[in-house]
């Protein structure tokens, strides 16, 4: 399966989904004009990935500074897909990385975490970024 790599722009995050090493990363700010259009290929890739892959552990590293409201709705969909996969037997570890001074990012991570049952979700505080 091909990796999914999307370079960051001013208003969209860097995305690197590495199927072979089973590491999925999203990093940066997300406020694209049309979030559902932007994230559609991401969801599609994820669904294919979980359909094709073994249940060996998948690591998801999220390092998010800003999500506009439609991007956070998109993230809800993303977590839905992860949760669904975990429910079906995949091991999914999410690392939610946030700056020690970024309470907004921390709260956002906590909110996402609340709705997850099968996905293991770690809040990872980053110091001295």
């Amino acid at each position: 399966m091909d990796n999914l790599i999307v370079e960051a722009t001013k208003s969209s995050p860097w995305i690197c989904f590495d199927a072979e090493n089973r590491i999925l990363e999203i990093k940066g700010k997300s406020y694209p004009e049309n979030a559902s259009e932007f994230f559609a290929p991401v969801f599609e890739w994820l669904k294919k990935y979980f359909a094709s892959t073994q249940t060996a552990p998948t690591e998801v590293n999220l390092d998010i500074i800003y999500l506009n409201s439609s991007s956070s709705k998109a993230f809800l969909v993303l977590f839905d897909i992860l949760e669904q996969a975990a429910r079906n037997g995949h091991t999914v570890h999410v690392n939610w990385r946030y700056d020690e001074d970024d309470e907004t990012a921390l709260e956002l991570g906590e909110e996402f975490m609340e709705d997850l049952e099968f996905v293991s979700f770690n809040l990872v505080k980053i110091q001295d970024r």
Binding site: K29, S36, I65, K73, D101, D102, E103, T104, R129
Partner: protein, 383 residues
């Protein structure tokens, strides 16, 4: 004499400038003439040497020895370089009518550069035109939206003191605030619809009129019920009842019902909080985490009413997350709700107009050179 001339010619061939040959007395005519021609050659070469050296260094303002035919090709080169320099200066000034003729590959390169600049200019012009049309239409949309905002005179008559910040990211806003006087008090609401700019603006129109419709249907005394009804009406209006719906848009909202007769404020929130001051502290009512109208919103969801006994010293605030999420500061992080609460605590005893300007200034300072990421709205009021 022949020897001297041969030496002089030899030095010329080595790129050196020999001193002129002095004719000896008694030379015959032919010899004198040879001597004169050789001296002219030396002189022409000396002139040429200075000229060509300067030319090689790119000094185009060099003196050109006139009528010196020894250096005709260099003169041609010099002239062409000066011409190209002039042409390029004209192009730099924006004159794209220039063309270079008959200078081989230079002409081709230069003229095709002009052609592509012309093409760019045309594209730029078309873009500008399209942009100015869009901007004009956005400004018109803003006028419509502004007329949809509450009448400040009406608010002033009802409220002790108030301020609002309504600062769209892109001319038209996805944020809306709403005010309505009632016989025994008033309703006040802040809404944050998905998107900003035109899509956000369209959402505010749907949200605003849906809210009016719901108030008509279920009355204004139960904010939580209003939110519930609004949730369902919005889902229906946007055809987002089914999980397969194409769109997933909605809004966050905070709604306060103030009953002056009972001395009571009742708040229900969907993703928007109510802050209020009491005895020097800022308290908050979180409201519910459920957003309104989205495909993913739960149609059965029952929102919660929170009531507070009114005290004349209390100041109330609602805001959209454009303020608290704005990126800035030394680390490029969100402003944050805690910072916002701290700020309110510091300034809440100031007159409302002063609070408004402090808030605006603080946010602008925090934002610094970052772009405004979302629409910003804050409403503050005293009952």
């Amino acid at each position: 004499m022949i020897g001297e001339i041969r030496d002089a010619l030899d030095r010329l061939l080595h790129g050196e400038v020999p001193s002129p040959i002095v004719p000896a007395a008694g030379d015959d005519d032919d010899m004198a003439q040879l001597c004169r021609v050789t001296n002219s050659l030396i002189e022409a070469f000396a002139d040429a040497h200075d000229f060509v050296t300067a030319l090689g260094q790119g000094n185009l303002d060099v003196h050109v020895p006139p009528r010196n035919l020894l250096i005709s090709p260099y003169k041609q080169l010099h002239s062409n370089l000066r011409h190209l320099t002039w042409q390029t200066q004209q192009v730099a000034k924006g004159d794209l009518s220039q063309r270079v003729d008959f200078l081989g590959e230079f002409s081709e390169a230069f003229n095709s550069m002009i052609d592509s600049l012309k093409e760019k200019k045309r594209a730029e012009h078309a873009l500008k035109e399209a942009n100015s049309k869009i901007m004009a239409s956005m400004r018109y949309a803003r006028t419509i939206q502004l007329s949809f905002l509450p009448d400040t005179e009406e608010m002033g008559a009802e409220l002790g003191d108030f301020f609002f910040i309504w600062n769209p990211k892109d001319i038209v806003s996805g944020d809306l605030f709403f005010f309505r006087s009632l016989n025994d008090g008033f309703l006040i609401s802040v809404m944050d619809c998905t998107g900003h700019g035109v899509p956000g603006g369209m959402m505010t129109m749907i949200a605003g009129s849906s809210l009016s419709r719901v108030l008509q249907d279920v009355g204004h005394d139960d904010p939580a019920l209003v939110l519930h009804e609004l949730n369902n009406l919005m889902r229906r209006s946007l055809n987002q009842q089914s999980p397969e719906a194409k769109s997933n848009d909605g809004l966050d909202l905070g709604l306060c019902r103030v009953d002056q007769a009972k001395g009571l404020l009742t708040f229900a929130g969907a993703g928007i909080r109510l802050y209020y001051s009491l005895h020097g502290e800022i308290h908050e009512m979180k409201g519910d985490k459920q957003s309104i109208g989205y495909r993913s919103s739960d149609p059965e969801y029952r929102f919660t009413n929170h009531s507070i006994r009114l005290d004349p010293s209390m100041r109330f605030y609602m805001n959209t997350d454009g303020i608290t999420d704005q990126i800035g500061g030394p680390k490029g992080l969100s402003f944050g709700r805690r910072a916002f609460t701290r700020l309110l605590r510091e300034i809440h005893e100031e007159p409302m107009s002063r609070q408004k300007s402090i808030l605006e200034q603080e946010i602008a300072e925090y934002r610094g050179k970052e772009v405004q990421l979302d629409d910003m709205t804050v409403v503050g009021f005293v009952v």
